[in-house]
């Protein structure tokens, strides 16, 4: 047979296969597919390496929902362990993202104008058919929880449905062996750590690694300390006469536009004595952190604590279930959910309790991609979200994960072990100065962490550190003003 004949045959086979594939796609298109990136709620089977049961309840909800709606196919994407932000940016830019994506609610102010997400306000004002007697979907949530997804244009772009908290997890056995008890003030906290260090343990497991540690613990430390040290100056920064009270309601704190204004008029600056005091306290504390904490992989922070090498660690409610079931843990443990108070003896700016390091929106903070409308599945996507946010579905879903409390008004059946975190948040409120990454720009935050690493490692002094931060802060404020000219008013 001639070569031309062979090629003609190959082309024919290719065409037949293509036709078969396309016809199967047509058959598959009968169902409307709603894809979801559920982050830590992604259901999966237990692997040999898993030390506790992974979440599976989404599968239960999926089956029940598909029984109710045979024309819809709910699909879950596998969890992305690293590089999620890069993945999201490329998917959103290319319009190929799943219908539902997990998203940091704090970033909504930064990204809402990009047209990536559906404005959910009209849908939230319609009834949720899966909640008996409900007239408006928005009413099933605790108001601060759902309001946390509000962008500067006043619209809600996120469905936030849970509450998350943190606390100092400690090894009771080490505490007993060393002869120390849970400290209530900062000076005691340091003394306890000094004794633990002398006994040969790492007092406090923490990481300031650029690969993830500093973004978590660096952010928590700076936010908590600033809230205490700047307490007397909050009204001045906000430009109001009345005191700025702590609440756990996002939006009542100091929003980005207020902070940008404060940076520009000099009422908030890294050259402030309060800012320098924050750096001094952090450096003093860092002597009790693991060797090379600025390069310690963030996964190792938990490992050091759970294997009994470190006496304390600052973890979130999401560790609640792992710690209970982790076979690596061979000791009794406890949690003190609030950082010991900095008194006037420790700092002239002390004397105020720390706020709870807690907030709304942990694992259940989802946005709906605008591309779902183009693909003709927006209504199905909204309906699925209504289904999973109904308390009878949301609460078992969160209980199955074990690390997050429900953000709905109806909390019947919620895991009682998480109450300690939600109580702290309601009682003490959360920090008033937002995290730097939602307050300013990502570039500023990256540069801040690099400088903080250098300062804590003794490579630059406090003056150099604050000079550099001031430069970066001004740059970020200018960039945000250029992007939002109305903030200057």
């Amino acid at each position: 047979m001639s070569n031309t004949g062979k090629i003609s045959r190959m082309v024919l086979v290719f065409l037949v296969i293509s036709l078969m594939l396309s016809s199967s796609m047509v058959i598959g298109a009968e169902k409307k597919v709603v894809k979801m990136y559920a982050q830590a709620l992604t259901p999966r089977e237990k692997l040999e390496a898993d030390r506790w049961d992974p979440p599976k309840y989404m599968w239960t909800l999926e089956k029940e929902y598909e029984k109710l709606h045979p024309d819809v196919d709910i699909q879950f994407m596998p969890e992305i362990p690293t590089g999620y932000e890069e993945w999201l940016v490329t998917q959103m830019t290319g319009g190929t993202s799943p219908e539902i994506v997990w998203y940091q609610r704090g970033y909504i102010a930064r990204d809402y104008q990009k047209g990536w997400f559906v404005n959910l306000t009209p849908y939230l004002n319609q009834p949720n058919p899966y909640v008996k007697g409900n007239k408006k979907w928005i009413d099933i949530f605790q108001p601060p929880v759902i309001a946390s997804g509000t962008a500067p244009d006043g619209n809600i772009y996120m469905i936030t449905g849970d509450i998350v908290g943190t606390g100092i997890f400690y090894n009771k056995d080490i505490f007993q062996k060393v002869g120390v008890s849970v400290p209530s003030i900062w000076s005691q906290f340091l003394k306890v750590q000094s004794k633990i260090k002398a006994a040969g343990y790492i007092p406090f497991s923490i990481s300031m690694d650029l690969g993830g540690g500093v973004q978590l613990w660096g952010s928590w430390c700076t936010r908590e300390l600033q809230d205490v040290l700047y307490d007397h100056k909050m009204s001045e920064i906000k430009g109001v006469k009345e005191p700025v009270k702590r609440t756990w309601k996002p939006g009542e704190n100091l929003p980005p536009q207020v902070m940008v204004k404060a940076i520009k008029n000099g009422t908030y600056s890294p050259k402030d004595p309060e800012w320098k005091e924050m750096l001094r306290i952090l450096k003093d504390w860092s002597q009790y952190w693991p060797q090379g904490f600025w390069a310690l992989p963030s996964d190792d922070v938990y490992r050091l604590w759970v294997t009994g090498k470190a006496a304390m660690g600052w973890f979130g409610s999401w560790q609640n279930k792992p710690v209970r079931f982790d076979p690596l843990r061979k000791f009794e443990w406890g949690v003190f959910p609030k950082i010991p108070k900095i008194t006037k003896d420790t700092s002239p700016y002390g004397g105020v309790d720390f706020p709870a390091m807690a907030g709304v929106g942990g694992v259940f903070q989802y946005a709906i991609a605008s591309s779902s409308e183009k693909r003709g599945v927006l209504n199905e996507t909204i309906d699925w979200m209504r289904y999973i946010t109904a308390p009878q579905n949301l609460i078992p879903l969160l209980n199955d994960h074990g690390g997050f409390a429900p953000g709905t008004k109806d909390t019947k059946g919620a895991d009682p072990s998480l109450k300690v975190y939600t109580d702290q948040m309601v009682k003490y409120g959360t920090e008033r100065i937002e995290p730097f990454d939602s307050m300013l720009t990502r570039e500023f935050v990256d540069n801040l962490w690099k400088l903080l690493q250098q300062y804590l490692a003794g490579k630059i002094d406090i003056e150099k550190m604050t000079d550099e931060v001031q430069k970066e802060m001004n740059k970020a404020a200018d960039q945000l003003l250029a992007e939002h000219p109305d903030w200057a008013k």
Binding site: N3, T4, I7, E85, E86, V89, T90, M92, T93, Q113, K114, G115, W116, I202, D209, L210, G211, P290, Q291, G292, F293, W294, A295, L296, P297, D300, R303, L304, K309, T441, R442, E443, D446, K450, L451, Q453, Q454, A457, K459
Partner: protein
């Protein structure tokens, strides 16, 4: 007399249409995934672009900003150090390994070692970096544990977190650097040397060193040139090792232009600026490749 039949280009293409049809998918993929993004990056380097909606023509504004950005010279200095180190490594250790294999008299052993050096290539680079990250782990890493067990605990340190050593720790990854493509390229070059030349050298009684220095090395100049180009491109563009192991830290001590480009594009929404950095890197690689082609001899021919 034979008269060459004159045909137009199109006639030639139609005559060899089967070859062109088979090549077409490759060309399409190359155009879509290699040439289009590269040309698009050069074009977008002239814009203030956030990668989504906002786009504004700013001429050479991104390039001007590059020269005022303190991270740029620092990252290029790190790249220079990494490039020099990579060149030294790739021009010595793999060459040594290839020469040793080539000189093995027993072909069975030569084949065995060749396979031995190739096997590690099937391990993805990312896994290698993760393993080395574990080796360097400050609290439970193999290196520090080894030092402690040898009674040298005073030498332990957070290798990737040490401001003075982090970059060198990254360079050290893959030690002894003999497994990989470079060894195979050198070996292929050595095996291509005509046996007559090597026999003549043996008859003349040349020492092993003379044979290597005067015969083998000049005759694998083309391979050396290829390794130099590949190493330059890899060292200037590459950042995966840095991103996985240090993420540019501690501070900015291991920052490289590739990683800075990536951060600007993916995290800071500065796609235009990232494109400008990419274009600048492209120009540097182009110039270095040209210099390499122009001034490095490909081979030396020997006359009997």
């Amino acid at each position: 007399m034979y008269r060459r039949e004159s045909k137009t280009v199109w006639q030639e293409i139609i005559k060899r249409k089967q070859c062109y049809i088979l090549l077409l998918p490759t060309f399409l993929l190359l155009l879509t995934f290699n040439y289009y993004p590269a040309i698009s990056a050069i074009y977008h380097s002239l814009f203030d672009w956030d990668g989504a909606n906002f786009i504004r023509y700013i001429g050479l504004g991104n390039f001007t900003n590059m020269f005022q950005d303190p991270t740029i010279p620092l990252s290029f200095l790190n790249t220079l150090k990494l490039t020099i180190a990579s060149l030294i490594i790739n021009l010595t250790f793999p060459l040594l390994a290839a020469v040793l294999i080539f000189h093995l008299k027993d072909m069975k052993y030569a084949y065995f070692y060749r396979v031995l050096f190739v096997i590690p290539m099937v391990v993805p680079g990312m896994v290698v970096f993760m393993i080395w990250r574990f080796i360097y782990n400050p609290t439970s890493g193999l290196l520090n544990q080894l030092l402690i067990s040898m009674g040298l605990s005073q030498l332990t340190r957070p290798w990737l977190g040490d401001f003075d050593l982090a970059l060198y720790a990254v360079i050290f990854v893959g030690f002894p650097w003999v497994a990989g493509t470079s060894t195979l390229i050198y070996l292929a070059g050595l095996q291509a040397i005509p046996i007559e030349i090597l026999d003549a050298v043996s008859i003349d009684g040349a020492s092993t060193w003379t044979r290597f220095w005067k015969i083998e090395l000049p005759l694998i100049a083309a391979q050396i040139k290829l390794i130099v180009i590949l190493t330059l491109i890899g060292a200037i563009q590459g950042f995966v090792n840095i991103m996985v192991m240090t993420n540019g830290g501690p501070g900015e001590t291991t920052m490289v232009p590739g990683l800075y480009l990536y951060r600007n594009a993916m995290y800071y929404n500065k796609m235009g600026y990232a494109c400008a950095i990419g274009t600048f890197l492209f120009l540097i690689i182009l110039i270095l490749t040209y210099i390499n082609f122009k001034y490095l001899k490909s081979s030396v021919e020997y006359q009997a």
